[in-house]
Amino acid sequence: MAKKHISFTLNRQNIDVLVEPRELLIHVIREQLQKTGSHIGCETSHCGACTLDLNGQSVKACTVLAVQAEGGEVLTVEGLLQNDKLHPLQEAFMQEHGLQCGFCTPGMLMRAYRFLQENPQPTEAEIRSGMAGNLCRCTGYQNIIKAVQTAAKNMASA
């Protein structure tokens, strides 16, 4: 299949890659660009393990074509660290034991990252509905909710 040249920013860096028009964004990011933090749990948009931020929105990268990222801004879990400083959400996930096997965690963090910008002081119920597109098989969610609340608090007072 004829390849297409696309450019976008990934974690604030300019990227140029050759992709097949049918290639999914998640595969290009994980396999060509070797950023393997975003995971694949279903490839049918149900689990959220592949969630990343594209142009200021949470997207499930298993159902986005790489060519759709053309000219866009992509942020993955690898981009949360800035100037060697963890994002408050990353700190809070550790603090509140918001992860176990870690497979859902990058997607959870990226969804929470966007969600807290949409709603900086969410209630528990709002977190539950705002993050419902991300599945976790290990934690039962309770500590993830705590982590998001803790991060929200810390970000507000920062």
Binding site: T36, G41, M94, L99, C101, A132, N134, L135, Y141
Partner: protein, 801 residues
């Protein structure tokens, strides 16, 4: 010795047993630096994808690979005929049966592996799968296990025709696998005949799937030059994989290296050895290139490792006060097309005989018959010890059925039947020796915490108003930590666990353990155990698991064996080091060993508190100044063979409100008290309980793999297969008591599976309890809104007045 603030500080510095230590594995996971199988990319790596059967039962009349092979980028297509010369088209299962690696002349379940395409890119591999033409002749499918042994049932396993053995005892029909029985049948039958009250119910533990968020997969890499095979694999038992791979391939075990890297959840799904792994390994050997195979979610749900599918008939005999006199259980177990359940090899029904539960039942009898059907093979322990969920479900439901018949409160009937605290060690009618427990204390604590009486009052008021509210109890006993190797083995390898510890000259430590974490936080908790035993801060203790080249032989992590067996190995290995350290300390202090006492992180001379040698001093001395006759160095290995299983227990209570117009069940409250003996890391324990309860909730309320009469699986994607989201998942309240195990070096029992095992009957009892004022004895899981609504509707409860 009086504990001074300074002592306390020294203890705290260790962050040892009992500390809610933050997890050591988290920094890599939160930064996207986890290392899972699908993250691995090796030079020259190619991709495998499986061609799978669309039919549940069909003869393969021909396979045409030409079109697939003609696609640029396709390297090879492997079928059973290609594996035949290597004798790898069939493989032994852990249960003594054989399983087709690639379908040999016929397929026996939908999505069975028929061929593997190897291509330079995963997209090309997927394209080529579509181009492999398989000519099938469909055969009648056997879906209902109850029909498996009728006279004219289609024969699923033609390879076994005429054989009256399939590895686990006598067969009585072509579709029969084994009969297994335990207990005293004649005494049990006699007790039932005389009993004042008997109850009998059919109940189903439906076919479900553990569905960890990461699917199964591997990267097999055979080095043609030196004959070494390295396989990165999603395995809960890497050493077993090494032994099996060596047996199958003929490659010396010393040249096979299995690495389980980070694993994205297991829950039993990653115990088995699946055809995809085997074919990827063969392909790598044939091509001399690394081959990656990662299953899709649909493949995962339809082919690797279902759980349960136990069709049970439970019976209790009691006196009129509800004192249970006997229990009888008959089970029809649907094992699918191959008997590849993941259990200790000699235990075809796992540890099902724990089914007498927490109750002092004088006689009991259980029988399990396994049958073949045209469904995927497996039968894994989904977040439980082998068949323990099924066992706990039947007793915890049946005791409620008995309570209802006698109009005794479910809490009260439990109290009357509990094994009493002074009866431990308790010998159960079906042969177990329970190590320790205090069931009444656990139940009482829960009832008080939730104001049980108040809840029952509220329920009565609601019933008077026509509302549906249920209160479920579960006072379960688990059996975990397999196991004494004389009782349990996997393909002949005893179920011990191992730990090797090395203390370096400067006092930091590396420890390697034969288990493998899939999210349980072993790097954190094992270090805590060793810290407390050695007096070295846990932050200075590295834990390594999962690499068979470096880690001593271990049986892996499932059946809650890590703390009971792996933790015991770690503690015992550490104690060996401490014994040697004592000798070195005596030498350094010029006293006899008996004059020394251990004090948190040092030895001190009794009566001379200033004369001390810390573990750090001793570590240094171990490499330059040891007493005559003692070897240099400070390391040890322990292979721990547990004297018994451990028996964690708990008391759970669940309150549900059911909408009588929609059938929706809202879990208003769930209170879980667990007793896992000594608690290593309370934060991790609580996390495990949250996760286990969520999986229990999923099974009880919605999860089910459904098949139509042609054997087609329905609901094998996450569109249909229920995984609870943030929205449905209830809020969990946790509590604990501590009854240490007397035979475990630390008194610890294991915990991660209790919430699943104990949680399922608790939800189910709650839903059933909502209808206990009506003439309904038992409603099967899953308690989905539609199914609950059907019950409501049949009773006419949803009539609007």
């Amino acid at each position: 010795m009086a504990s001074t603030p300074e002592d306390k500080q020294r203890k705290e510095n260790l962050a040892g047993i009992g500390c809610a230590r933050k997890r050591k594995e988290d920094p890599r996971f939160i930064q996207g630096k986890g290392h899972y199988v699908d993250d691995i990319k090796l030079p020259d790596m190619v991709y495998g994808a499986l061609v799978r059967s669309p039919y549940a039962h069909a003869r393969i009349k021909g396979i045409n690979k030409d079109a697939a092979l003609a696609l640029p980028g396709v390297l090879t297509v492997l079928t059973a005929d290609d594996l035949k010369p290597l004798k790898l088209h069939w493989m032994p299962t852990l249960a003594g049966d054989v399983q087709a690696v690639l379908a040999d002349e016929k397929v026996c379940f939908q999505q069975q592996e028929v061929a593997m395409v190897i291509a330079t890119d995963r997209y090309i591999a997927a394209d080529a799968v579509e181009l492999v033409e398989v000519d099938y002749e469909e055969l009648p499918a056997l879906v209902d296990p109850h029909q498996a042994m009728v006279d004219d049932a289609p024969v699923i396993r033609e390879d076994l025709v005429g054989k009256d053995e399939a590895g686990q005892g006598k067969r009585i029909h072509d579709n029969h696998i084994f009969s297994w029985e335990v207990g005293d049948k004649s005494k049990t039958d006699a007790t039932f005949k005389k009993a004042a009250v008997t109850v009998k119910e059919e109940m189903l533990n439906q076919r479900v799937h553990p569905c960890p968020l990461e699917t199964c997969g591997c990267v097999a890499s055979f080095d043609k030059v030196n004959g070494h095979l390295t396989v990165h694999i999603t395995s809960q038992a890497p050493h077993i994989v090494r032994t099996v791979v060596s047996m199958l391939s003929g490659i010396a075990e010393s040249k096979v290296r299995i690495i389980s890297p980070d694993i994205g959840g297991g829950f039993g799904n990653k115990v088995g050895i699946y055809p995809g792994y085997v074919v990827a390994i063969v392909a790598s050997i044939v091509l001399g290139q690394p081959v990656k195979w990662i299953e899709s979610r649909i493949e995962n749900l339809s082919s690797t490792a279902f759980a349960r599918d136990y069709h049970m008939v439970g019976e209790l005999a009691a006196d009129k006060n509800g004192l249970i006199q006997a229990m009888r259980v008959n089970v029809l177990a649907d094992h699918g097309a191959f008997n590849s359940h993941a259990q200790p090899t000699k235990w075809p029904a796992g540890l099902f005989s724990i089914c007498t539960g927490s109750y002092d039942i004088p006689v009991a009898y259980a029988r399990v018959d396994g049958v073949y059907t045209n469904k995927a093979p497996g039968g894994v322990a989904y977040r439980c010890s082998f068949r323990v969920t099924e066992a706990v479900y039947v007793i915890e439901r049946m005791i409620d059925v008995l309570a209802k018949k006698l109009a005794i409160d479910p809490a009260e009937i439990r109290r009357r039947n509990f094994i009493k605290a002074d009866q431990f060690p308790y010998q159960s009618a079906l042969g177990w020796s329970y190590d320790s427990g205090n069931y009444p204390a656990a139940l009482d604590k829960v009832l008080e915490a939730v104001d049980y009486e108040g809840l029952r009052k509220e329920q009565a008021e609601k019933r008077a108003r026509g509302e549906l509210m249920g209160i479920g109890l579960s006072t379960f006993t688990e059996i975990v930590g397999a196991g004494p190797s004389k009782a349990c083995d996997v393909l002949g390898v005893g179920m011990f666990e191992s730990c090797e510890i090395r203390v370096h000259p400067t006092g930091s430590v590396i420890a390697r353990i034969g288990t493998i974490s899939q999210g349980q936080g072993h790097q954190t908790t094992y270090a805590q155990i060793i810290a407390s035993e050695l007096g070295i801060p846990s932050d200075q203790i590295q834990i390594e698991e999962g690499d068979t080249d470096t880690v001593p032989y271990g049986l892996g992590t499932y059946g809650s064996r890590s703390t009971p067996v792996g933790g015991a190995a770690a503690a015992t290995a550490a104690r060996k080091i401490r014994d040697k350290a004592r000798k070195i300390a005596a030498h350094l202090l010029d006293v006899s060993e008996q004059d020394l006492e251990w004090d948190i992180d040092r030895f001190r001379v009794e009566g001379a508190p200033d004369q001390v040698k810390t573990m750090k001093d001793i570590a240094w001395a171990a490499y330059n100044n040891v007493p005559d006759g003692l070897e240099m160095g400070l390391e040890s290995v322990n292979y721990y063979d547990p004297p018994n299983f451990t028996f964690p227990f708990g008391a759970y209570l669940c309150v549900v409100d059911i909408d009588k117009y929609t059938g929706e069940t809202k879990v208003r409250r769930f209170y879980a008290l667990d007793d896992c003996g000594t608690r290593i890391n309370p934060m991790i324990i609580e996390g495990q309980i949250h996760g286990g309860l969520t999986e229990a909730f999923a099974v009880a309320m919605e999860q089910q793999l459904v098949f139509d009469e042609s054997g087609s699986i329905h609901g094998n994607s996450l569109m249909d297969y229920f995984l609870p989201t943030f929205v449905e998942t209830p809020v969990w309240e946790t509590d604990y008591t501590v009854t240490p195990s007397p035979h475990h070096p630390l008194g610890a029992k294991g915990v991660a599976e209790s919430p699943h095992v104990g949680g399922i009957p608790c939800f189910s009892n709650a839903v059933n309890d909502a209808f206990s004022h009506l003439d309904i004895k038992h409603i099967n899981m899953p308690h989905s809104a539609f199914r609950v609504w059907k019950t409501i509707h049949a009773q006419g409860l949803d009539k609007r007045t």
